[in-house]
């Protein structure tokens, strides 16, 4: 199974379905989906590696929190994650190094603002060949 994402319809917002051969490998396509929802983002500034450490009670909650961190990096710091090196991702903990770069506003095309990563229809489950996750973004 190749890591991938697709969008699904929701009345007022946007849903993402993410698939990957393993739990840690869900994170990269999840981030790509978030950025695709925002628009066509272009990186073009300084590069920086950041450590991320999250605690939670389920892998779904941690996925939501991970995307929440990416949203903060985008909105507050104008940065995007180009690559994620996952050290741990299980039910209780997510630990990763995020390789980020500043966003080039001139070359980026924005579609819409993502307000938040919701808990609505949030799930991570094992499927044949890997894992599937579902997240709804509040637009």
């Amino acid at each position: 199974m190749e890591p991938s994402y697709t969008f699904f319809d929701h009345t007022a917002d946007m849903g993402i379905t993410i698939r990957a051969p393993s739990l840690p490998r869900l994170l990269a396509p999840a981030g790509e989906a978030l950025y695709a929802a925002i628009g066509q983002l272009a990186a073009g500034g300084d590069s920086r590696a950041l450590s991320l450490e999250l605690q939670g009670s389920t892998s779904a909650e941690l996925l939501r929190d991970y995307l929440g961190e990416l949203l903060i990096l985008f909105e507050r710091d104008r940065r995007m994650v180009l690559r994620v090196q996952v050290l741990t991702y299980c039910d209780k903990r997510l630990s990763a190094t995020l390789f980020t770069q500043a966003i080039d506003d001139q070359r980026s095309v924005y579609h819409r603002e993502v307000k938040a990563i919701t808990y609505h229809e949030l799930r991570v489950q094992e499927i044949s060949g890997g894992y599937e996750a579902s997240v709804i973004l509040d637009i």
């Binding site: 009345t11 507050r76 104008r78 924005y110 579609h111 819409r112 938040a116």
Partner: protein, 486 residues
């Protein structure tokens, strides 16, 4: 797309449907949906009635779980949801009953400009507004507030920014709650919320937020329209926006804080999205204080944009905004939770009223209304879509009796964003709007497609239900002429 609702819906009368509390064992009260026979068919197309039933399970809920005719699927609460809980009876407060965009709301500004005088300048006016009022993803405002200023702004509400020169003192009188909910606790906000908010106060945002130039097309209630300063053929401006990233983060932080909290208080939820805490618990008080702070930020946000709008008009029409008569008609919140007194079993009781995509609609004589509106009732501003119309209503006594002083907030979506984009392929929504006489400018690449008129219910149907139910009365219809979107 979500599954359809297949549970019970009993027709009570021409404008109300009931979900009996026998539907689910955990329901403490009935659910009541305001809709007519036509709208109810659309209501059943998603699971929003199920959400009405779930809200009826919340501890301390009083009388019923309600939904207005613009009901559609949301998180925990449906959009259009109204529920009141009694804090003294263990009643809860739920961030899902407010929404991420705390105090998303609408304000309406009137003018003395006639549509005939405005039309030759409309293109320039819309372009000037687009340039002057920051909108769109990643657009910071013209004003940046440091931490200390943000805390003042959230503690003092729109008076803080009016005092700094961003508006007129009369704007405060015609803002719901005077632009300030007392008891705000800016100190409860995380640094992250403040970081998201420091440069966004005075910005429109994106999605369904808009700034629209309109003409008063029809007057249905001349006395009320006169009190509001609305004249047929005159230009108005409607602004729809909320608490921006600061508010979204306050909600996000609260939902995190509330993980595991319902269990702590023995609350068993049918839907985790209804995460809540008793109003009088430390967690409940924390959310209430932070939510109030974010609500006050939103009023400052819309106030600064009012100031920028007046500047744009002054530039285009070559006269000061005062001479153009650009007074604020009213400003309403439609995502909020407030403590308000209502009669429960014959006794006045302070209730925590959640309005999620629902607007306050106080009747004539209510103590909270400014003097000029006491004879007519509170203005209720109901945006439709950018192709058809928006409405101004006034609250009626029926709202106090039946809906905890609440009314609808808009048309309600009936098409997903994905479906709207697909429907817009090969079409120019901008040109279609122009053909209808509406000049539209949007920063987001897909904004106009996602927000096209067909994505929304007909707001007249929504407004008509509440008019017939005597919850509110129509005052005026506003037709769009120009709109800016993020």
């Amino acid at each position: 797309m979500p599954e359809k609702y297949t549970g019970p819906l009993e027709r009570l009368d021409a404008t109300r449907w009931r979900i009996p509390k026998s539907y689910k064992q955990e329901m403490l009260v009935d659910g009541i949906i305001y809709a007519d026979d036509k709208l109810i068919r659309a209501v059943k197309q998603d699971k929003s009635p199920e959400q009405v039933a779930n809200v009826a399970c919340l501890p301390g809920i009083v009388k019923y779980s309600l939904a207005m005719p613009d009901i559609h699927w949301g998180y925990g609460f449906c959009i259009g949801g109204v529920a009141a809980t009694d804090p003294k009876q263990g009643g809860v407060i739920s961030p899902g009953g407010v929404g991420y965009d705390i105090n998303c709301g609408v304000r309406l500004i009137r003018t003395n400009i006639t549509v005939d005088d405005a039309k030759p300048l409309m293109q320039r006016l819309v372009e000037t507004l687009f340039r002057t009022v920051p909108c769109g993803v990643g657009r910071g405002g013209v004003i940046k507030f440091d931490k200390k200023e943000l805390r003042h702004l959230m503690a003092e509400g729109s008076a803080y920014v009016v005092d700094k020169g961003f508006g007129w003192s009369s704007d405060i009188d015609t803002t719901e709650a005077g632009g300030l909910i007392k008891g705000a606790r800016p100190d409860y906000l995380t640094d992250r919320a403040l970081q998201r908010g420091f440069d966004q106060c005075g910005t429109l945002g994106s999605g369904n937020h808009f700034l629209e130039v309109q003409v008063v097309e029809r007057i249905d209630n001349p006395a009320a329209a006169r009190a509001m300063g609305l004249e047929k053929g005159c230009i108005t401006v409607m602004i729809h926006s909320g608490s921006r990233g600061l508010g979204y983060q306050v909600c996000d932080d609260a939902l995190k804080d509330l993980r595991g909290v319902p269990r702590k208080y023995g609350i068993d939820l049918p839907d985790k999205q209804l995460a809540c805490a008793p109003v009088e618990s430390p967690e409940g008080k924390k959310y209430l204080g932070a939510m109030r702070a974010a609500a006050n930020y939103a009023w400052c946000n819309r106030q600064i944009m009012t100031h920028l709008t007046r500047q744009a008009f002054a530039e285009v029409f070559g006269q000061p905004a005062e001479r153009l008569g650009m007074h604020l008609v009213y400003d309403v919140a439609h995502n909020i939770a407030k403590i308000e007194p209502y009669a429960v079993d014959g006794k006045m009781t302070d209730l925590c009223v959640h309005r999620k995509g629902a607007t306050r609609a106080f009747p004539p004589g209510h103590a909270e209304l400014p003097d000029r509106y006491k004879p007519i009732g509170q203005p209720v501003l109901v945006p439709g879509d950018m192709g058809r119309a928006s409405y101004v209503l006034v609250g009626q006594p029926g709202a106090m009796e039946h809906t905890f002083g609440s009314c609808c907030h808009g048309a309600g979506r009936c098409m997903s964003r994905g479906a709207a984009i697909r429907a817009g392929k090969g079409r120019s929504i901008r040109q279609e709007l122009l053909n209808r006489g509406v000049i539209a400018l949007a920063r987001g690449r897909t904004g106009l497609e996602e927000e096209q008129p067909d994505a929304y219910k007909d707001v007249l149907q929504v407004v008509d239900v509440l008019h017939r139910a005597e919850i509110s009365r129509r005052v005026a219809m506003l037709r769009p002429l120009g709109v800016i979107k993020g």
